[in-house]
């Protein structure tokens, strides 16, 4: 993170080092806590088979969380990512399955559309929250047009990829490591990655230094679209068929995942590795841990929400103490 000193970070840089270390470690610590709780309740699941089943659905969530993270890097919020993922699922289960070329073309067009959206938001200085909320209805509508009732079929190769069982390390863990490493390298270790983060941290400085903000925003939203496409493909590869509502829950999960992973709503402060860990933690906490706890059905919905609030509150409490210094 120290390659370029971003304004948000220098202000906090005075605090003792262990606090910053704790903050950076918090996503990992919460993941370890949730895993520990699951292992304690049901030790049998800590196995190759257990991890494969438990974390299967974390892969598309992690990808959607990264998509959200790119939007949040530019101080924006993408409220349409869930509906977009649902739409991509429908495209993959219909067009991509029938004709690889037409399907691929449509998916590329979707990414281009997302980039154009970013450019529009910058050029007209529109609030992203309004534009993306509007777009969420567009994506949802297109998805229902494409698949009025659940159906379609995931391409065989995609299903085969998602159900591949690599030796020793379960696929979801391998995939998460790979996704996190790629996003981390691109955003944290390349020079243009620093410019992109600067677009959220100090847009004026970046513009004065001669970088196009329009281009930066378009690229960030294009990346959000790209990871949204990956998320939809991964999701439909697991489910085998699509449904217009498949991604609905991803919007809020992805925002929570970015925040849990150490990101901020403003300032271009994001952490790709943290975001992926955040997505894994949320998946485990909300569905798996709850399932093992045997909470009565009337309370399950509330308990799910409570776990989310507790996990996020812990993260905010620690980072605020860091600020108070």
């Amino acid at each position: 993170m120290s390659a370029v000193a971003l304004p948000g970070e220098t202000a906090r840089g005075r605090g003792p080092d262990w606090r910053r270390a704790l903050r950076a470690l918090l996503p990992a610590v919460s993941l370890a806590l949730v895993l520990g709780a699951i292992a304690w309740i049901n030790p049998r699941v800590i196995s190759y088979f257990g991890f494969t089943l438990m974390l299967n659905y974390a892969v598309p969530i992690a990808l959607a969380t990264l998509a959200q993270m790119f939007a949040m890097t530019a101080n924006d919020i993408d409220l349409s990512i869930g509906a977009f993922v649902g739409f991509i699922c429908c495209v993959v289960a219909t067009y991509l399955n029938q004709s690889a070329w037409l399907g691929a073309l449509l998916l590329v067009a979707c990414v281009a559309g997302y980039a154009a959206l970013g450019a529009l938001i910058h050029a007209r200085n529109l609030p992203s929250i309004v534009v993306t909320l509007g777009m969420s209805f567009v994506w949802q509508g297109l998805a229902i047009l494409l698949l009025p009732k659940p159906g379609g079929h995931a391409p065989i190769w995609l299903q085969a990829t998602m159900s591949y069982r690599p030796p020793y390390v379960p696929l979801p863990i391998l995939a998460s490591l790979l996704i996190a490493a790629i996003a981390w390298f691109g955003l944290m270790r390349t020079s243009y990655g620093a410019i992109l983060r600067g677009a959220g941290g100090n847009a004026t400085a970046i513009a004065r230094a001669g970088w196009s903000m329009l281009r930066a925003k378009a690229i960030l939203f294009g990346l959000a679209g790209l990871f949204g496409v990956f998320s939809g493909m991964a999701l439909v590869g697991i489910t085998g068929a699509a449904d217009a509502h498949l991604g609905d829950g991803y919007t809020l999960l992805s925002i929570a995942g970015v925040i849990l992973g150490g990101g901020e709503f403003v300032g271009g402060v994001v952490s790709p590795i943290g975001a992926v860990i955040g997505a894994l933690t949320l998946t485990l906490a909300s569905t798996q841990l709850l399932g093992f706890l045997h909470i009565p059905p009337d309370w399950q919905v509330a308990a799910n929400g409570a776990i989310l609030v507790i996990v996020l509150a812990a993260r905010v409490a620690i980072s605020q103490r860091g600020k108070a210094r």
Partner: protein, 340 residues
């Protein structure tokens, strides 16, 4: 790779699975119920029916456990993760009211591969390895229009209230209604709104379109929306049409009041929430070693007419739905009826 997976699955299950032969009794077996939504009167009644039957089954020692799991949202990925979770917990069978007929197939297949019996009902799944307890929703939609033709022999304009968009049940009932209208060309659907099987949603949706509509003679719907529609017509000061009801207590109560006032006639039908108990017994029977049960079981919908709805009304709790809990013997009979 596949065989490693299967072996691991067996190892993971070994902790609780009973290692006896096929014709075991089910006293030590555990059946889980994966439910994707609990937010309306029908689902509440369905859970209640399931609870009544399964608690007794556990007490009588027929099964060791019958736990209920409801997902926090109506979404497919959450329920798929839940199914995987239930497999990991080592349940012998999973009864499921599914969020999607196709999109859960990946998770269902994993469960089957791990040796878990899967029985779906209401929201069914298309994965061939699972069992389906199916209510003929399409026939129900068609019958709604047939009944409407009895009450409104001259035909006229109909308002359709749809259920949750994008679900298979909504689509099936809708298709049935379209078939019915084709057979009775005097009727014309002039508008279609989304009521989500919920009285308040239906009331709002109907109230929104009413001012722009011509005179409506009848409302065809999917249940859980009839009372809301009646309220919307009354509030708008429009004449009361023939509203098909869906076995809800508030709907039948309203029907009774109207009947007492001026002999109002209509018809009521819905899937009996107690079908969840039938799904439970099917799972139990399969675990008991029965191999002759067809994977697709068709059960009739529950309908009430002018003659018999008032006898049923006192039996339905306020805010509930007319139901019928299956006993083991009734379930065996229902299975037999499907074995031709």
């Amino acid at each position: 790779m596949k065989s490693t997976f299967a072996t691991l699955a067996l190892v993971a299950l070994a902790g609780t699975a009973l290692s006896s032969a096929a014709h075991a009794d089910t006293a030590k077996m555990r059946i889980a119920f994966s439910n994707n939504y609990a937010g309306n009167s029908w689902r509440q009644a369905m859970l209640k029916s399931y609870g009544i039957v399964t608690q007794k089954a556990v007490k009588d020692g027929i099964v060791a456990a019958a736990d209920v799991f409801t997902t926090a949202d109506k979404e497919v990925p959450t329920q798929a993760a839940q199914i995987q979770n239930l497999v990991l917990q080592g349940y012998n069978a999973i009864v499921i009211d599914a969020a999607s007929p196709d999109a859960l197939n990946g998770a269902i297949k994993q469960a089957c591969d791990a040796g878990v019996v899967v029985v779906s009902f209401d929201g069914i799944v298309t994965e061939p390895c699972a069992y389906r307890v199916v209510v003929d929703f399409k026939a129900m939609g068609e019958e709604e229009v047939n009944q409407m033709a009895k009450f409104q022999p001259k035909g006229g304009n109909l308002l359709e209230i749809r259920g949750l968009a994008g679900t298979s049940i909504d689509d099936a009932i809708h298709q049935g209604i379209l078939e019915g209208v084709k057979k009775h060309p005097d009727f014309k659907i002039v508008s279609s709104v989304t009521g989500d099987w919920d009285q308040t949603t239906a009331q709002k949706a109907v109230a929104t379109v009413l001012p722009s509509l011509p005179a409506i003679v009848g409302v065809v719907d999917q249940g859980g929306d009839g009372y809301g529609a009646a309220q919307a017509f009354a509030a708008a000061g429009k004449p009361r049409p023939t509203i098909i009801e869906g076995n809800r207590q508030d709907e039948l109560q309203w029907w009774k009041e109207q009947k007492a006032k001026d002999g109002y006639q209509t018809w009521s039908a819905s899937i009996a929430p107690g079908v969840s108990s039938l799904a439970f017994w099917v799972a139990q029977q399969v675990l008991d070693g029965r191999k002759d049960i067809p994977h697709d079981l068709l059960v009739p919908y529950l309908a009430f007419t002018q003659a018999d709805f008032e006898q049923e009304l006192p039996k339905i709790p306020t805010g509930g739905v007319a139901s019928h809990e299956y006993t083991l013997d009734e379930s065996k009979a229902a299975i037999k009826a499907n074995m031709k």
